[in-house]
């Protein structure tokens, strides 16, 4: 069980680096989708047989469908609308950002050891994976120019937080879990609407256009 979990987490972290290194937005979307889909069922693994309740199954299912299916389609649509292929010359280049991501992962490991985890050995990889993913999300958010890439960054960030949430399944009632997912869905939905509007108004997805409001 645990080995499977750790394997998944490792894959997730590698996917992070891939997401950083890829320039074709379409494939980044796919990577994040895979990441989300992979994470969906993890809570079930984590808590073994006794953890498997109808509610949690439902939640896992919802997560998988939303992250692996719905959100990617939404984003692909707006990608098509904007007909752009790739993130050209980002704020920080791809190789550097991969290195940054790696560094972030390292920092995450240090952080989790400094903080100390009393929550059983299960946590030993979860916390660094979560923090690393959050950091990678931030990197994408801050180094990419295209609006869609930033949305992706936000998704990665959310994934990271989701990973951490696995430690606390019993503390999160079904309502809340659903609420979080719903928020995520609506959020991405609204954002992508806005990105479409940006695309119409500025005839580009480049957020550098969006700098008229300043001091």
């Amino acid at each position: 069980m645990r080995d499977l979990l750790n394997a998944i987490l490792v894959i997730v972290m590698i996917l992070n680096l891939f997401a950083l290194g890829t320039s074709r937005i379409n494939s980044v979307i796919r990577i994040v989708a895979v990441q989300g889909a992979l994470l969906g069922p993890v809570p079930l693994l984590l808590h073994g047989a006794e953890g498997i309740r109808g509610a949690s199954i439902l939640a896992a299912l919802a997560a998988v469908i939303l992250k692996g299916l719905v959100i990617p389609t939404i984003m692909r649509r707006s990608l098509r609308a904007a007909d752009i292929k790739r993130e050209v010359e980002p704020f920080v280049g791809f190789l550097p950002s991969v290195l940054l991501g790696a560094a972030g992962t390292a920092v995450a490991l240090v952080f989790s050891t400094r903080m100390g985890s009393g929550g059983g050995a299960a946590a030993n990889l979860i916390i660094p994976a979560a923090v690393a993913t959050v950091l990678v999300g931030f990197i994408i958010l801050t180094t990419r120019w295209k609006a869609l890439s930033q949305v992706i960054g936000y998704l990665v960030l959310e994934n990271g937080i989701f990973i951490f949430g696995m430690l606390l399944v019993e503390a999160i009632p079904f309502v809340v879990e659903m609420g979080v997912l719903l928020d995520l869905f609506v959020g991405v939905f609204v954002i992508s609407i806005i990105t479409n509007h940006i695309n119409e108004a500025f005839s580009s997805m480049d957020t550098r256009e969006l700098a008229s409001l300043k001091e």
Partner: protein, 665 residues
């Protein structure tokens, strides 16, 4: 009804006194008249409440329930408050009557409403300040006063210069309020409550802080140099009766604040007194020195207010020193003189401001260089102005002299019976007062001369207009009362001594001060000597005028030492009169000269002009402020509009906080 009750009624009445004019749309004479009547009524009620304080024992403070977390609505009335309440109830009422003639509401409907409301609230605020016995209530009253005075002073806010002056005043008064926030917070921390009653358990170090903050917060309102920066502009640009109230009454409440706080605290340390003393000296000299350079009739008066506040501060400082060194004579004479000067200044300064308003009304300008020869057009106004000027220059037999006489007496006592260590300082004080007296004569001869004497300097007197007889009388009547008061007090100052002594005694915590002060200062000489002086002058004047009539001289001009065509512009003007003085006063005055001499065989027109900016405001504060805002401008690039950067800020904040907050553990 109890005294305090009467005062509260008066406060309420004056607070609502603006309503008639406001409700009548701001443009009706009748509304204006009703407002004035209400104010006069309020004044009379208030006086009826206040005057008993000087004879009968002080009533207990009155505390009403008040739904604020900190602070209670507690008010009290002692002789010290009484001293300051008297002008509050007299001057604005007279100002309102004057306003009927000076500020015809029909001409200014838009501003009339705002002015009417704020004028009444200003009076109420001032009176409430003087009786508040609780810090929070005090602050509320204080700010009411400040804001109302700001509204009143910027009544003509469509003029840019009024807006500029108003802005400076607003910032200055806000700095003062914030300083008071700090001061009362410290008071609360040290005293355990916001109630303003004498507390002998204040730890000395916090007492020192409280004193300094009081000096800052109240000094800004009083206009002590270098905190005077707002005063000239505000006084010059306010409507004249508002200037009279601000200069004659409101700035005194800054002094009141200082006195109140110092009286609340245990035996003050010696440096308090000397600090106040020194600041007073600087203010007195600098104020009157700057006054001699101004080209605007109301700015001259404003700067002389700075001087008079300085004199008051000198007296108060002397009293503080007396308290800290245990010399009751100094306390009584210094404080008595200071409080006496508070009254005197409120009388002659408001007289002068009202008179200046009449002059401006008639000539349509505030520039001295365009005035002159008004004594022929406005003989009574000229006489009253001369009286006020003489009183302000502390000349016998007028009230100004009587007040300074007390302070001088304090100095001479300090010198003759003093411990050697502080005698030189006291002597310097006397020397300063003497210098100030001489300079005051210079400044006000200059003012009186250039405005009223000689010949008109500009044929077309600006856009001024000869005001109708009725409104001119409305303006003259209050002035006559004020001038009469100056004379009467000057002739028999002894009448006021008990009140002053009592207040000084209360302040200095000396118990019954009235008899002590009357014992120290004997005014019995003033009436006979004053009458002799006036009588002999009158006789001589009579003799000379008879001689002049007997000589039945033909109309002749002034002897012009052989000039062919002397023009009225050739008279010695305000700036030329001040120039020689300024050259010898450079340590207090920065006069900017600008001009071109006629040169060559066929010279083109030359010109010459001088102006005296306020050294503190125009040569120090404004440049610094400009520099600061430029510097801040650089910081704004942090807000340049890229979302990515904004997110970096968020990330950095998180990391820094985490490093600062968690890693240490």
């Amino acid at each position: 009804m109890s005294s305090i009750g009467l005062v509260l009624v008066a406060i309420l009445v004056s607070a609502v006194s603006g309503l008639p004019i406001a409700l009548s749309g701001g443009a009706s004479r009748r509304g204006q008249a009703w407002s004035a009547i209400l104010l006069v009524a309020a004044g009379l009620i208030g006086l009826a409440g206040v005057l008993p304080v000087f004879v009968s024992p002080e009533g207990p403070p009155l505390a009403l329930a008040w739904g604020l977390p900190a602070g209670t609505f507690s008010v009290g009335l002692d002789a010290l408050s009484g001293i300051f309440l008297v002008p509050i109830f007299i001057v604005p009422a007279l100002g309102a009557i004057y306003g009927l003639g000076y500020w015809d509401a029909k001409e200014r409907p838009a501003d009339g409403r705002r002015l009417g409301l704020s004028y009444g609230i200003l009076v109420a605020g001032m009176a409430l300040v003087a009786i508040a016995r609780d810090a929070v209530l005090f602050l509320v009253a204080w700010e009411l006063m400040a804001l109302a005075s700001w509204f009143a002073a910027t009544a003509e806010s469509e003029k840019p210069e009024v807006r500029r002056a108003g802005w400076v005043y607003l910032v200055a008064t806000h700095i003062g309020t914030l300083a008071l926030f700090a001061m009362f917070s410290l008071w609360n921390a040290a005293n355990g409550s916001f109630s303003l009653d004498r507390n002998l358990a204040i730890p000395p170090d916090s007492a020192g802080f409280i004193f300094v903050l009081a000096l800052l917060g109240f000094g800004l309102k009083a206009g002590l140099v270098p905190l005077h920066v707002w005063l000239p502009g505000a006084h010059a640009n306010a409507p004249s009766h508002v200037s009279a109230v601000m200069s004659g009454v409101m700035i005194k409440l800054g002094i009141y604040g200082i006195l109140r706080m110092t009286s609340l605290m245990p035996a003050p340390e010696q440096w308090w007194g000397w600090t106040l003393f020194a600041i007073g000296g600087v203010s007195a000299i600098a104020g009157i020195g700057w006054a001699t350079g101004q080209g605007d009739i109301k700015r001259v008066l404003a700067y002389s207010s700075v001087e008079n506040i300085g004199i008051i501060a000198i007296g108060a400082g002397l009293a503080l020193v007396g308290r800290s060194t245990g010399r009751p004579a100094l306390v009584l004479l210094g404080m008595g003189g200071a409080l006496f000067h508070v009254w005197n200044h409120s009388l002659f300064k408001s007289l002068l401001f009202l008179d200046a308003g009449l002059v401006i009304h008639e000539t349509g300008t505030r520039r001295l260089e365009r005035m002159g020869g008004l004594a022929k057009r406005l003989p009574l106004a000229a006489a009253l102005f001369g009286l006020g000027a003489a009183a302000l220059s502390a000349l016998p037999p007028l009230n100004g002299f009587a007040g300074e006489w007390l302070i001088y007496l304090g100095f001479f006592r300090g010198v003759t019976v003093g411990a050697a260590n502080d005698v030189p300082a006291v002597a310097i004080g006397a020397a300063i007062l003497a210098t100030v007296g001489a300079l005051a004569v210079a400044a006000f001869v200059r003012l009186f001369g250039t405005v009223f004497l000689g010949q008109p300097r500009s044929d077309a007197h600006g856009e001024g207009h000869v005001s109708p007889k009725a409104s001119r009388n409305l303006m003259l009547f209050p002035m006559i009362l004020l001038g009469f008061a100056c004379l009467v007090i000057g002739l028999s100052p002894g009448l006021l001594l008990p009140a002053l002594g009592r207040a000084a005694g209360d302040w200095g915590n000396l118990g019954e001060g009235a008899s002590k002060l009357t014992a120290l200062a004997d005014f019995s000489w003033s009436l006979p000597l004053g009458l002799t002086l006036i009588g002999s002058i009158a006789l001589l004047l009579l003799f000379f005028s008879l001689a002049a009539r007997r000589a039945k001289t033909a109309e002749r001009g002034t002897w012009d030492c052989g000039y062919a065509e002397p023009s009225s512009r050739m008279q010695y003007g305000a700036s030329s009169f001040g120039e020689f003085l300024g050259r010898n006063l450079l340590f207090v005055r920065a006069t900017l000269k600008k001009g071109r001499r006629p040169a060559g065989a066929f010279p083109d027109a030359g010109f010459f002009s001088t102006k005296s900016p306020d050294p503190v405001l125009d040569l120090a504060i404004r440049p610094l402020a400009a520099m600061a805002s430029r510097g801040l401008g650089r910081i704004r690039v942090l807000h340049q509009g890229q979302t990515q950067i904004y997110l970096v800020y968020v990330l950095l904040a998180t990391i820094i906080l985490l490093v600062a907050g968690v890693i240490p553990s």
